[in-house]
């Protein structure tokens, strides 16, 4: 058993350890040659993910990594460093050398929504990062349990009962979207935070809460099976995966909330390295495998430039902050 466990250890850690060693020395090499602009990539390009393996952010990172590895001709390992909604990983990568060998997959909510719920010193902003490109958009949908009988937003507004609404956690798009919508539509209710999307969805299916806001990719199988009823989505336009459900905007409410994801590097990337990375991401976007991946994971491509990502996320952060203040919403409980 000793022998086999050692071998196993070798197999599973060779990737991680080897990559660490390689990227460390690769970093040095690139540091020296970055100005000459020829040596990129000088070794494996690591994509750090601030979430656990297996979640949607991780799956997106792995799909992008696969395509980039093909294009760059080097290994592109994905390293998961979960913690504090991704703040831990983001701060760590932001402090690394800006040579393009270390990238981070960002969630918009970390920049735009989490700061509304946590202390300022933990909040992450884009100042220390060079955003390379936007990747995709994951929409939120408000679903109701069949027992509640709700089919439209009007049904919920007319309900005289005390409502419970599930969220996927504090400082998430699910919480923000629902809180703002209900404040604007003058719906009273108690927010019940769950640990993530799946328990919140289960609670709606079992009628433990009346409604919940869930990421579309997670909720769609249940919507199709008829175990939960979609009420509205929070996208700016109807997502192609759910064409018959109105958006909150169509219903007359100003709640554009989606989860966006983008690829970024530490600030100060040499121009040529950045260009090479942008080119590489473009090749991923163009590949059929990646397009299929988006389709299967109910992700809408959101293929904008790094500058547009920064602009849009900063604008959203401002907009959310204003909305929260206007309706006197507190994302951190009372």
């Amino acid at each position: 058993m000793k022998a086999s466990s050692t071998r196993r250890t070798l197999i599973t850690t060779t990737a991680a350890a080897g990559v660490l060693a390689l990227s460390a020395c690769g970093g040095n090499v690139a540091g020296g040659s970055a100005e000459s602009g020829e040596a990129f990539p000088s070794g494996p390009v690591t994509i750090t993910v601030g979430q656990d393996a297996g979640g949607s952010t991780d799956r997106i990172a792995r799909a992008v990594a696969e395509g980039m590895a093909e294009d760059l001709g080097v290994a592109v390992p994905v390293v998961n460093k979960a913690g504090a909604n991704g703040a831990l990983a983001t701060k760590e990568v932001a402090a690394m050398e800006a040579d393009g060998q270390n990238l981070i997959l960002l969630n918009a909510s970390l920049i735009t929504i989490t700061p509304l719920a946590v202390g300022e010193d933990e909040a992450v902003n884009l100042d220390n990062l060079d955003v390379i490109a936007g990747l995709s958009q994951d929409d939120y949908v408000l679903v109701a349990s069949p027992e509640s009988g709700f089919e439209t937003l009007a049904d919920i507004q007319e309900s005289t009962e005390e409502l419970n609404f599930g969220t996927t956690g504090v400082g998430t798009g699910s919480q923000l979207a629902q809180a703002v919508l209900f404040a604007q539509a003058e719906i009273d209710g108690t927010a019940v935070p769950f640990d993530s999307g799946s328990p919140a969805l289960t609670a709606v299916m079992g009628d433990q809460v009346d409604v919940a806001t869930i990421q579309l990719g997670e909720a769609l199988p249940q919507i199709e099976a008829g175990t939960v009823t979609p009420i509205v989505t929070f996208a700016e336009e109807r997502p192609e995966f759910l064409p018959d459900t109105p958006t909150a905007i169509e219903e007359g409410y100003e709640v554009p909330v989606s989860q966006y994801r983008a690829l970024a590097a530490p600030k100060g990337l040499p121009e040529d390295v950045k260009e090479r990375l942008i080119e590489s991401v473009q090749s991923v976007r163009d590949s059929e495998t990646y397009q299929e991946f988006n389709q299967q994971n109910i992700l809408t491509p959101w293929e904008v430039t790094g500058e547009e990502v920064v602009e849009e996320w900063n604008a959203l952060a401002e907009q959310y902050k204003a909305l929260v203040e206007e309706y006197d919403i507190s994302l951190s409980g009372e």
């Binding site: 058993m1 393996a53 297996g54 831990l88 419970n164 328990p199 299916m205 199709e224 175990t227």
Partner: protein, 504 residues
């Protein structure tokens, strides 16, 4: 029979040589990763997922499922031999398993565990085959109040199952509950005991605590013992479970299978609670409960059977409702989506080949695991013949590697060392780490579900009693808590009256 046609076709799918091969690969990988604490089946499946893109969905899921239940077998080995429980559900196995190993009966413990796991797994698959749609809704009936009540029962059991003195067990459990509060509060986002450290924002992981307290703590303690007196190394005999052991365990295995099957259906914590309940039940039923913690075979057989049955039945909510019951199921859910299959109520009718192929592959997988593990038991127990001076550093290395792989962070390695020191001190002062670790696991479940229940019930505590499942669980809680007290009070009274009678 209409029902049996797809079931039998499913066997046809499994017996396809390619599927058999992938099933074997899955269970072998699973068993090996189960041996290393830290890198759990969830992370392994996520990493191996891209490799399955090119193969048939049925084949891919058969392999991924094999990794999951294979890991349950592997976890037993380190719990028994090295006192390293890799998962919360194998913590109770350590209590008697490691003692058995020290008595030179590691073969018995591992053999019984393998047989129990096989039977538990198989019973759960049979349950999955015939009852899946019927029992699936059980998972939906469990809302926050039910989980609160279940966690309460679990925490009460912690005090019952610990071997040492009650008061020390309670102190350790209280520390465990306290540790569970570390991290960002999930209801308000407020920081609790994080000292501004982002690495603590998500709380402490189970693995550094269990690895440190059990593994490193034990190593440090043994080192000191060796300095004091050179004790003769325990005689390691390759003892197979005797007929008597098997007879003693058969009841435990039977009860463990049923407990594991039903509790495993519950999303979140089902496997852990089932192993705890099984241990507590065996201890309560035993003629001489004091044997537990000192090498009772039933104390290994019951929980190991239960956690394997639970691992299998956790597929029920995924395959019939589309609800992932734990982190690994969430990744298999993702894997199914990537292969263009939507897990959910329609899966059985829309994709019977996949459903029955995967279910039936588990029969085969369990047989493969039994065939693999029985001969390997002889090999594994040889580890105990390795001198402590060599074995201890290797164990420490496995532990630290395991802690690092959770989220590639040195912070967790530091935690292992800290908890190792704590574990050493606890052992020195007669505190068992078991209650601390179990209370830690249940504390999170209890706190978040209690607060969630109060939100759902609008702060009305009586709501716990008007819901049938939570009310039943609370009645059980009261009976278990107060029962022994009443019993001993009655016994004393009877004693008093007889004495009074005698006096008069």
């Amino acid at each position: 029979m209409d029902f049996f046609d797809p079931v039998l076709n499913g066997f046809g799918v499994v017996l396809d040589p390619q599927n058999l091969l992938y099933c074997l690969m899955g269970v072998v990988i699973g068993m090996l990763i189960g041996v290393l604490p830290g890198l759990g089946p969830a992370a392994t499946i996520a990493i191996l997922l891209p490799l399955t893109y090119g193969i048939d969905p049925v084949t891919a899921i058969i392999m991924l499922a094999g990794i999951f239940y294979g890991a349950q077998y592997g976890g037993t080995i380190t719990s028994v031999l090295l006192r390293l429980p890799g998962e919360a559900s194998s913590v109770v196995t350590v209590f008697d398993g490691y003692v058995l190993a020290k008595q030179g009966k590691a073969g018995t413990a591992l053999g019984i565990a393998a047989i129990g796991s096989f039977i538990g797994g198989t019973v759960a698959i049979i349950g999955l085959t015939f009852l899946a749609p019927l029992v699936a809704s059980f998972a939906l009936d469990f809302g926050p109040p039910e989980y609160t009540a279940l966690a309460l029962v679990g925490i009460l059991l912690v005090a019952t199952i610990s071997g040492g003195t009650k008061i020390k067990a309670l102190i350790a459990a209280a520390v465990g509950l306290l540790l569970a509060t570390v991290g960002r509060d999930v209801f308000t986002g407020a920081e609790r005991f994080t000292f501004g450290n982002l690495s603590l924002a998500d709380g402490i992981d189970f693995v550094p605590i269990a690895m440190g307290l059990f593994g490193i703590g034990e190593i440090l303690y043994n080192l000191e013992e060796r300095h004091r007196a050179v004790s003769a190394p325990a005689k390691v005999a390759n003892v197979w479970p005797s007929r008597a052991d098997l007879r003693k365990s058969s009841g435990a295995i039977g009860r463990g299978s049923v407990l594991g099957f039903f509790l495993g259906i519950l999303p979140g914590g089902g496997a852990t609670i089932s192993s705890m309940v099984s241990y507590a039940v065996e201890k309560k039923r035993a003629k001489d409960p004091s044997r537990f913690g000192k090498g009772a075979v039933e104390g290994v057989a019951g929980p190991e059977t239960a956690n394997n049955a639970a691992a299998t039945s956790s597929f029920i909510p995924l395959l019939t409702l589309g609800i992932p019951a734990n982190a690994t199921m969430a990744i298999i859910f993702g894997a199914l989506l990537i292969h263009g299959i939507t897990p959910g109520p329609q899966l059985i009718s829309e994709d019977p080949e996949l459903f029955w192929g995967v279910v039936n592959s588990m029969y085969i997988g369990n047989i493969l695991l039994l065939i693999l593990s029985i001969p390997l038991v002889g090999l594994f127990v040889k580890i105990l013949r390795v001198r402590a001076a060599i074995l201890a550093p290797i164990t420490a290395l496995i532990t630290i590697l395991g802690a690092y792989t959770i989220r590639n962070s040195m912070f967790d390695v530091l935690l292992v060392v800290l908890f190792g020191a704590l574990g050493y001190l606890m052992k020195k002062f007669g505190f068992e780490p078991g209650p601390l670790v179990l209370a830690f696991v249940l504390g999170e479940l209890l706190e978040s579900n209690l607060r969630r229940s109060l939100l759902v019930l609008e702060g009305d505590v009586s709501g716990f009693l008007t819901r049938p499942i939570s009310a039943t669980l609370l009645v059980i809680f009261v009976l278990v808590a107060v029962g022994p007290m009443i019993k001993s009070a009655l016994a004393r009274r009877q004693h008093d009256t007889t004495r009074v009678n005698a006096d008069s």
